[in-house]
Symmetry: C3
Subunit: 153 residues, 3 copies
Amino acid sequence: MIAKRLIDQNINLPKVSAPVANYLPVTQSGNIVYISGQLPFWEGEKKFLGKVGHTITVEQAQEAARLCGLNIIAQLDYHLKGNLDKVVRCLKIGGFVNAISDFADHPTVLNGASNLMVEIFGEKGKHARFAMGAASLPFNVAVEVEAMFEVLP
Amino acid sequence: MIAKRLIDQNINLPKVSAPVANYLPVTQSGNIVYISGQLPFWEGEKKFLGKVGHTITVEQAQEAARLCGLNIIAQLDYHLKGNLDKVVRCLKIGGFVNAISDFADHPTVLNGASNLMVEIFGEKGKHARFAMGAASLPFNVAVEVEAMFEVLP
Amino acid sequence: MIAKRLIDQNINLPKVSAPVANYLPVTQSGNIVYISGQLPFWEGEKKFLGKVGHTITVEQAQEAARLCGLNIIAQLDYHLKGNLDKVVRCLKIGGFVNAISDFADHPTVLNGASNLMVEIFGEKGKHARFAMGAASLPFNVAVEVEAMFEVLP
């Protein structure tokens, strides 16, 4: 049971809220769920602002990616009415790293989100992904991560 | 009826043409439609060239995002043989903003495309999305937007 | 038969290996296959490092995109146990070009990958796509390409 695993591993999910604009945090078609790009915020408080390779270290950026991942899971949990056991697999994550132009270690940064998926879902958490370097990101956050999941009907 | 709503709201779609290369503006698998990244062109005429935060303002970039959105809808309309009533929902849009490195207002820019989806499709137009900052974009356009829709068979 | 077409056209696929991290090169849900962002490596040897428009020309970047495409096909071939005839169509590719901030010719670069899909799969290889400019990419590669395919069950 995923809810128990979160408690056992001391993983706390943030409370989430819907965007105040004409889009949604989550959409679903059939058994595929799409999660909007999540930012490294904790319940509205902005964390990890800055440029990776300049004011943000790789270690901090990895934490930022993990926090994006926590928001992804929180949005998914809300969408599934608290039943994360309906997750069949994490299909894909897309990672944007707000980095200087010669930054090269995007994979390490994104492992912050990838590792979280496997901590929570085990083998079902293993996903396809891309990791790339953005020139800028919303609110000057260091990392943004989007995701897709397959879920039970 | 969506065609009537476009007229009532005075929303004109551009005429679209297929890319002159080995790719397509639209592909479909089952009931999911994928729209290639659309640029802020009006029937071949390039609009909104430049860097957001430098030669392009946030307001202009929002208009650019709306124009990308109009091209998305025009491609979708052509794919659906003029029957936009087959749209079940807009699932996701992906927004690339060609901005300076400390630009932070990508969400406002992308609202140009998001608002258009809701003007045209109402609640069905609400989608998941990501908004990120590109270092450069094709033809130096200010904004590029890709999209996915669920449609009736 | 795709395997014969590869031989006839003298297209060699690299041997591929799985990432040494908590993600996968390929995931599948139903008949849709997601391929992780592929880099211009040949069996582990890094090729085409640098910034397009500075140390990498458009022609070199196009070769880099083709090499990303070869890795995509190699991963897909491995996933399909050597039976590329199960490919129904290439649905979408996403292309990230590590370019200087006034670079504008991303479509030409991505044609390296798009042309490869059509050389291998013919009309089934035609896909939706986006092409955008990254500020940086993993290992300083010039190009990264992700992809989605529809396959037979």
